[in-house]
Assembly symmetry: none
Homo-oligomer: 216 residues x 4
DNA sequence: GATGAATGAGTCTTCATTCAT
DNA sequence: GATGAATGAAGACTCATTCAT
């Protein structure tokens, strides 16, 4: 079973190796060894070394986005969504240290291709944040003068720098929960117009269970 | 003069070339050409390719930190300091695109050495932010539950992500001033205990000017 | 039937592919694809890539030699034999462009083995020419001072260079018949002692036709 | 001195190595070793392996053509020119075995580029022959029905095949002179309209000698 | 100090060949 | 017999670094 999925094994090996050495300091031979395949086998699944990096980004970012979207969809109020975005983001980073480091560090390579490429998936991720802001503004919860296009970057940047701290430090000073709480609090207080709706009643899953009969 | 300062010329050439191609995709020969020196000459001033990168970081980060410190020292209230930190940071990024891109992208390379190295100068930079927060907390302006160690990273991260946006995009959507204002507003509102002191009277330079007789 | 003869299909595919790309630039995979068999199947019929080349030479040269021998056997006078050798040689080249190109170009590769190998079949082919010359000398038609060992190479070389011209040029300037006529005329006139016997009566096939009742 | 001309040394080494193993079976490392330079040095003088082959052809063919042209220019009658073309061609082959083998064997590679490339220099060489024929026809010495475009190929092909024989055989059966004489005799007798002018008086150099007082 | 020609270690990638199915 | 996924040896080429001038 584990022997079969060469593609997956190579990807996982590459994540590990790239995170360990950086993309340019990683050798195909090392990935092959880590994946327990022959050097040449890698080229049956990927066009070249760079293609492995791209594929990692493509596939793994997809999973992350899906996971975050799914998580925040459980909440109704924009406040909670923002809080859980932060929490989920930092949780994922913690659970996928190697991947996080890879995205943090290697995908910042200034290859022209990467510059453009990065935007596709990444924009999608940032977009989730912008949408939460807009929703909050429509509901009169968030200040109208907040510019979602700037906010989404600031918010993501704050989380991202926090996770870099974790990724690069061997021991972490702050728990994921603490960090997520702190950061959400800065940003939420920073853009609130009026208090957020009470939290208890807003968890959709709770509500759903209670009231809804619809599939949706 | 310009012909003589080989060290400086190599550094400037390297900033340009590294920013253009990335560290690993840059060739010593290209830097030499850009600096108008022979390949071998570079090795009279630097130990190796990597040493150039380190030196850029060391020297240029020093200048940036000094510049930011100097700028915010002109203000008294922590609120203003924070605002002007943001403004100055983004201004510097805009004025030194190549350097900014380099720090943004290349210095995130996960070389073990860099990981550690980065912290020295960088910690100093983050420390400025933490100090502003502590000052504000002491003055009762900022909430006591704000953790400076987290705040500094969040704040820096927000600015950093914003500048990455500029560095990687050919055309920028938002002006430096707008972005600085927005981001400061999120964070300031986010951590205020009570309103900031009025701005007018706090500009130290104004005061200074009135009283000082120094040549400068 | 065609599906069954894997050996033949591989040979034909290889002739095509080798002629297209040259031996060293041809891939086993490409031959396999062209022959509609799996890569591994080729190794059920041939020891290695080189063996395919050898086999092509062996089998196809055999056919060519037989064909030329058969053709010239229809004629009696050495003059006619020489003329029809030229004609038949050039005809075969024209009808088997790929094979001709292969023999022209690839079999000249200087592999030590090939150097020696080439001689076996090839010597047989040249020998036909030498025999015609000797026959002519015995009949007092060709000059005695003509050295068959040199003549055979010169004659073959002339034809060979002519066919190279065709093989490498997309459009041919001269018809096979013209070229054959010209070349034979140079060589025949070049070595004649006395005029060739009249042509009409010597064509064996003509004789045959007159007497035979065969269907064909 | 000998140490200095790296370009020349690499070319000479490559001629030797290519002749020994064939182009595809030759290693850059082997050429480098033979030339007594580092592998990388080769790439300071040539773009790639193939470029070495091309350059050999370009430079050495140039020398050969010049040498042949110069030699036959010493003679006046087309007959003598043809004879000395043959002699000079075979002499050069004998004196530059490696180069001859290279041109014989490797430059027949069917690379598309080579196909076209070959023609430039090569056509020039064949052209010399065609010109001799035309000259002879104008002087009424050679038959008018001889087509120079075919003759030049036939004549060259005859010489070429003869030299292949030498190149590939360790021991040669026939002397250069014998071979040249035989081959010229086939072709000359083959296309003569009337006897060639007497040879004695036609050697230009002879004439020169008579009148000149030069050191030579 | 300055040069830039020379070095040669290092690696991605190819592809003939194998072999488990 | 047939397959084609997997293998891994091999080599062209790059480029940081050196050093004779």
């Amino acid at each position: 079973m584990k022997v079969a999925d060469k593609h997956g094994r190579i990807i996982q090996a590459a994540i590990k190796v790239f995170a360990r050495n950086g993309f340019f300091n990683s050798r195909i031979a090392e990935i092959a060894k880590e994946a327990n395949v022959a050097d040449g086998t890698i080229y049956l699944y990927f066009n070249n070394k760079y293609d492995i990096l791209i594929t990692i980004f493509e596939e793994e970012m997809g999973k992350i986005i899906a996971s975050v979207k799914n998580e925040i969809s459980k909440y109704e109020s924009p406040c909670e969504k923002l809080e859980h975005f932060a929490l989920q983001h930092l949780n994922l980073v913690e659970k996928n240290k190697d991947l996080a480091e890879l995205i943090q560090v290697e995908l910042r390579q200034s290859s022209k291709f990467m510059k453009e490429y990065r935007n596709k998936r990444f924009a999608e991720y940032l977009h989730i944040i912008a949408n939460i802001v807009k929703e909050g503004q429509e509901q009169g919860i968030f200040r109208k003068d907040v510019m979602p296009g700037i906010f989404k970057r600031a918010f993501f940047g704050a989380l991202d720098e926090m996770s870099r701290f974790w990724v690069l430090s061997p021991r972490k000073k702050y728990s994921v929960k603490t960090a997520a709480k702190q950061i959400s609090s800065y940003f939420l207080n920073g853009i609130l117009e009026k208090p957020c709706p009470a939290t208890k009643t807003t968890k959709k899953t709770t509500k759903k269970k209670r009231t809804s009969k619809s599939k949706k």
